[in-house]
Subunit: 316 residues, 2 copies
């Protein structure tokens, strides 16, 4: 697989021959590029739960392919959809993708959804890149790249487009504990794209902002409520408070809008062992950033500003 | 070595028989309790630089013993002091301890300085514990425990005293990337003291505060300027902004006062490899928290409030 030409089908695809869902095992990156072959819905569920594939849109695409796999295997589609929907409680894209697939659970339909997802990223990126002035030094958290969306990326797509337009100077990459999606996946994608970057400890972001070295914060989202409240990787909320304190804009590049407010978004708590195997720990996977700390939400339809209830309403 | 009875001499001590400086190798904790024997100043310098012993007061104590070792070995004391002072640029305790030792570079004098340091911790802890109401849920960062001070601890000493007085409910422990002093050392000390605790990713602190689960933030300090600006482990500044946003007090338990303002405190940048061996990284060891984000600074003389230039002036 060519690092410089990571295609949507490298990240996740369906093979009729088998049949099977094939995905790039993101747990092994950046050290190894290994594909994982799932020949049953149960295997896809494990791959999603154990983060071989992660990122709300990419999970949705994988679930769509998994439902096509279920149909090809003659599985009960209700059962399959239920198993898949429960694999990550915060990623509502799962339920949405499964709903879309029910009337036509074919590989061709899943591929069409996958292509739409990548097109949506390109559209979001083109809108978001307008927000970048020349020489922008952006900070990002977790991985909202092609790996997270099934191709091109949302926040990282925006950075990519800004880079191509000459508006981006460098990217600060939060390493993103506990699973290091920033240090492992985002840095890997930025390196492949030739974009200057440096990894930092999550707790160093405040210092960088205070030093005047951050012009904007750009993240994706796992969920966006209709009022603009946004659930994303744990630590995004802390960044939003730090950015507001330093008068640095936080841009969220994503779409969802299936919940009225952030309070209704369930937050997955993952095993303490991801943090420490020795002591007690609390390990939420996500947090909710209130809409008033977000400077703009960028969807494929454009750049939306507060009040989000109004500016996002047309999209629901 | 009994885990429940960690004595000052378990953390660092001088043995005439050798002669040598013996210290508990903090890099191996919590998995192994191993002592490191330093038979030359150069070996102590390496131990400090590579964090076998860390925490500004503990480093000062180790440096004092190292100067006694230099004298016993017939080394040039100026050279020895210069080597030791350069081992960690932010920890001014080094220079201070060395200065104290110059007129009387004996093991007895070093032991007296060590005992004073531990007594200072007990005094600070007694004052700081007054700040804790019943049922306090405190959040701490890095390790300001007995391991960092050569016995009892500053911030962790305060938590210990509050616990003994029945005022502490639990401690949230920032894991403290990249070297995990919280997850490895603070959790280990809290477990030994029987204080309920849970480790969190540094980036989860904001979420916990937003949920109303944190009553105060308590940290030590590597340096405190005369105006109250405080240098401490990278991430403390981010915590101070988050705490201010959530109207939660940040208490700093320590003393120094040898610099006019935080701008004059040199910040050590450590090797990128501590964060990632694969990509570019920026890895400052400390940050500076401005005095206006600190609710109180606690020294052995009492609880000091803003304006610190005045409230701390009597101590200089």
């Amino acid at each position: 697989m060519g690092r410089r030409n990571l295609e949507a089908t490298d990240i996740v695809r369906y093979e009729e021959d088998g049949p099977r869902v094939v995905l790039l095992d993101q747990r092994r990156l950046p050290d190894e590029e290994v594909e994982l072959e799932c020949r049953s819905v149960a295997e896809v569920v494990v791959a999603i739960r154990e983060l071989a594939i992660r990122g709300a849109p990419a999970i949705g695409v994988a679930a769509a392919y998994a439902l096509a796999l279920a149909a090809a295997c003659g599985d009960d589609l209700d059962e399959a959809a239920e198993l898949l929907a429960a694999s990550r409680p915060t990623a509502v894209n799962l339920a949405w993708a499964l709903e879309q697939m029910r009337d036509d659970p074919t590989p061709g339909h899943a591929r069409a959804l996958h292509e739409e997802e990548v097109e949506r990223c390109h559209a979001m990126a083109a809108h978001a890149a307008e927000l970048f002035g020349p020489g922008t030094r952006a900070l990002t958290h977790c991985n909202a790249g092609g790996l997270a969306t099934g191709g091109y990326g949302s926040a990282l797509g925006a950075l990519r487009t800004a880079w191509e337009r000459g508006a981006l100077e460098r990217v600060w990459v939060d390493e993103t504990r506990p699973l290091l999606q920033g240090a492992r996946l985002t840095a890997w994608e930025l390196e492949a794209a030739g974009i200057p970057h440096a990894v930092i400890a999550d707790s160093a972001a405040g210092s960088l902002m205070a030093a005047g070295d951050v012009d904007c914060v750009v993240t994706g989202a796992d969920r966006i409520a209709a009022n603009g409240d946004t659930a994303n990787k744990i630590g995004t909320y802390s960044l939003s408070v730090l950015a507001a304190h330093h008068r640095i804009p936080l841009y969220v590049v994503a779409i969802d809008l299936r919940t009225p407010t952030g309070a209704e978004i369930p937050i997955e708590e993952r095993a303490a062992e991801e943090l420490t195997t020795r002591f007690a720990a609390w390990n939420p996977a996500f947090d909710v950033t209130p809409a008033d700390l977000i400077a703009a939400i960028v969807t494929e339809h454009g750049v939306h500003r507060a009040p989000y209830v109004q500016s996002l309403a047309a999209l629901v």
